[in-house]
Symmetry: C2
Subunit: 77 residues, 2 copies
C-alpha cells in the first residue's frame, strides 16, 4: 500500500465517501467502476491517504448523483 | 505560464474563487499570502488551469473564512 501523510480534511472526506458508498450498498470495486477510478485509489481516498484533486472529487460526486457541495456539507476543518 | 487542460469544474471553481477574492478587496498577491500559496498558483486556479487538490481547497476556504461546502454551493457540473 502506498502510504502518504494523512491530513484532517482528507480523513474527514474519506470517511464521508465511505459512508455514502456503503449507504448505497456498493463495494469499493463497484463504486470505482462507476466513478471510473481505480479500486485501490478509492481505498486510499477512504483512508484519507490521498490528497484528492477537484476533477476526481467531481467524478465521485457524479458517481453518487450528488453535487460537490453535498459531499462537504457536514465536513468542517 | 504553465498551460494545462482546463476542465469545466476547474473553470467554475476558479471563477468563484476570483469573485470571492475580489469581493474582499484582495489582490492575488495578498490572497496568496493569506492562503500560504504562490501568487502564480492562485492565478492558475482562477483561470481554471489547475486541478487543485483538497488540501489546497481547504487552504483557500480557510483564507476566505468559509467552509469548503460554501465554495461549491452554486457550482454545478
Amino acid at each position: 500500500m502506498k502510504r502518504q501523510n494523512t491530513n484532517p480534511i482528507s480523513v474527514a472526506f474519506g470517511n464521508k465517501i465511505r459512508d455514502l458508498r456503503k449507504s448505497r450498498g456498493l463495494s469499493q470495486e463497484a463504486f470505482a467502476g462507476i466513478a471510473e477510478l481505480d479500486r485501490s485509489y478509492i481505498g486510499g481516498v477512504e483512508r484519507g491517504n490521498r490528497n484528492i484533486s477537484l476533477i476526481n472529487i467531481q467524478k465521485i460526486a457524479t458517481a453518487l448523483n450528488l453535487e460537490i457541495f453535498e459531499l462537504f456539507k457536514d465536513i468542517h476543518e
